[in-house]
């Protein structure tokens, strides 16, 4: 009897604690372009981005230097690079079933300097899917998962 009560009490306290956590969690913005700003400089942020993506089990496929090309053509801009990344199985699966999604893959993270700070931006995958209603039902789980993971990636910089 007492043990049962104990259990009940523990379950209850646990539920209460969870409820408090949920309630006090800040609302998640519906931003279409997820963006974070860090007070770290560009080079270290670029290196950290690759590591953080890999920690989230993404593979970094390629880094494109936008600034180099621009400067060569005489357009002055501070450091600006784009990281292409993804997971082979997910990319393969999605492009096989839905070639219309190829233009969005692999995923792209823009990393660029602003004075001695650095910004990181990525299109919210859920916003892309919202513009493709025919695929929404089937791909919602994957794209929501990506959004969640990408928010976690960005949160490590903010």
């Amino acid at each position: 009897m007492t043990i049962a009560m104990n259990k009940l009490l523990i379950t209850f306290l646990y539920t209460l604690a969870t409820a408090i956590c949920v309630v006090s969690n800040t609302a998640v913005a519906t931003e279409d372009i997820l963006t974070a700003r860090t007070s770290s400089d560009f080079e270290s942020t670029l290196e950290k981005s690759k590591l953080v993506l890999e920690e989230h089990n993404f593979t970094v496929a390629h880094v494109q230097r936008c600034d180099g090309g621009l400067r060569q053509m005489g357009y002055h801009t501070d450091n600006y690079k784009i990281i292409f990344f993804g997971r082979l199985e997910e990319v393969r699966e999605v492009t096989r079933a839905h070639p219309e999604l190829m233009p969005f893959l692999p995923l792209k993270l823009a990393v660029f300097a602003e004075k001695d700070e650095t910004l990181l931006s990525i299109v919210n995958p859920t916003s892309i899917l919202a513009m493709m209603p025919a695929l929404e039902k089937e791909l919602q789980p994957l794209f929501s998962k990506w959004e969640k993971e990408l928010r976690q990636v960005l949160a490590e910089f903010q």
């Binding site: 009897m1 007492t2 009560m5 009490l9 209850f12 209460l16 408090i20 309630v23 006090s24 800040t26 609302a27 998640v28 913005a29 519906t30 279409d32 372009i33 963006t35 700003r37 593979t59 970094v60 496929a61 494109q64 936008c66 090309g69 621009l70 053509m73 357009y75 002055h76 501070d78 600006y80 784009i82 292409f84 993804g86 082979l88 990319v91 393969r92 492009t95 070639p99 219309e100 999604l101 190829m102 233009p103 893959l105 692999p106 792209k108 993270l109 823009a110 660029f112 300097a113 602003e114 004075k115 700070e117 910004l119 931006s121 990525i122 299109v123 919210n124 513009m131 493709m132 903010q158």
Partner: protein
């Protein structure tokens, strides 16, 4: 006996939590303590953590923060700036919005009055004054005609702070006439916005305020683009021929091409990559530079690319993004215009290869 006291404790706890939960739910205590955190999470990407500005305007400058009423900041947060990048944060609770305003007030108090009485002036006369004193910065039609918004230290700019659009529905709904008048009279010291208290008479300033109000009422909503986000074409050529044709057509249209990549390249080893999915990336540096100046985050959707792939039945197809529709995610009317030109080039290239 023992279990009875447990029951009592349990009852007490249930009662306690029922009373406490609504308090927590309003999260007012939480929100107040977290104004700084909320600002950092939602605003700092564009306005910087210290409020010195970025893609968005500077907010912490004393002459700026003193001229922004609380009610104006709140409405700005909730409604954003349609067509001028700042999104509507309509998912934030009233307490969270208050907390953000509370945090911003640490930068300086409000000096402009909360008066919401409309100011009476002559809009026609105001238009002439506006053309003479304001249009060079805020645009012929109040649209904010300089490339880009806010401040940047990363690229050349015509002004250290880009003048905001004054015909923006979000802005005008948030701003009271008193705030407009205050901003025009006092200017924003430390920014390009001059104080007009000595240059213009009070009736002249009232006329300009009326002109800004009148212009707003004529503003129409931008049309919504419902075209498909992804565009697919059949190629009349075989796979390799298609790749060559796309590449040579792109150069003929004054775009630079980057080395081709497979979609899976870098995600797996070279031998395992699907070689029948090739991405051709291309770029016109002048257009890219303009786009970056208008919206520095544009690298998330540019440079342009056309993907060529072969289906299991041996059909060759080209697929690209509808860049105009994709770009609409940035909530930036200037960018929409810039992408229109890029979009036309895309169409011509694809037509030439596939027809």
């Amino acid at each position: 006996m023992h279990s009875l006291s447990y029951k009592k404790t349990l009852n007490y706890l249930i009662w306690l939590s029922l009373t406490l939960l609504p308090v927590l739910a309003s999260s007012s205590l939480y929100a107040q303590e977290n104004g700084a955190a909320l600002y950092k999470q939602h605003c700092s990407a564009c306005h910087s953590n210290t409020g010195e500005g970025g893609i968005g305007l500077p907010l912490a400058t004393p002459s700026v923060i003193e001229s922004l009423p609380d009610s104006y900041i709140k409405k700005t947060i909730i409604q954003g700036r349609p067509g001028r990048i700042m999104p509507a944060f309509d998912q934030l609770s009233a307490d969270e919005v208050d907390a953000i305003v509370g945090h911003m007030r640490l930068w300086g108090e409000q000096k402009v009055s909360n008066d919401t009485t409309p100011i009476k002036g002559n809009a026609l006369k105001g238009k002439a004054t506006y053309q003479q004193h304001c249009a060079s910065c805020h645009g012929q039609n109040l649209e904010g005609n300089t490339l880009g918004t806010g401040v940047t230290f990363s690229r050349d700019r015509s002004l250290p702070v880009m003048p905001p659009a004054l015909n923006n529905a979000g802005f005008l709904d948030a701003a009271s006439d008193a705030m407009l008048k205050y901003s025009i009279s006092h200017g924003r010291i430390g920014t390009p916005m001059p104080a007009f208290a000595d240059t213009l008479t009070e009736p002249q300033i009232n006329d300009v305020v009326s002109y800004i109000r009148a212009a707003h009422q004529q503003q129409a909503k931008p049309p919504v683009d419902e075209d498909a986000l992804s565009l697919m074409y059949d190629s009349p050529l075989d796979f390799d021929e298609t790749v060559d044709a796309v590449r040579s057509t792109i150069s003929a249209y004054n775009f630079r091409t980057f080395p081709d990549r497979y979609i899976e390249q870098g995600l797996t080893d070279e031998f395992s990559s699907n070689k029948k999915q090739v991405i051709i990336r291309f770029c016109n540096f002048k257009k890219l530079y303009d786009a970056i100046r208008i919206e520095p985050r544009i690298g998330t959707i540019l440079p342009c690319k056309i993907t060529i792939f072969e289906t299991e039945d041996g059909e060759v197809k080209l697929v690209t993004v509808n860049i105009k529709r994709y770009g609409s995610l940035f909530n930036n009317a200037q960018l929409d215009k810039a992408l229109e030109a890029i979009s036309e080039a895309y169409e011509e290239i694809l037509d030439e290869v596939t027809l």
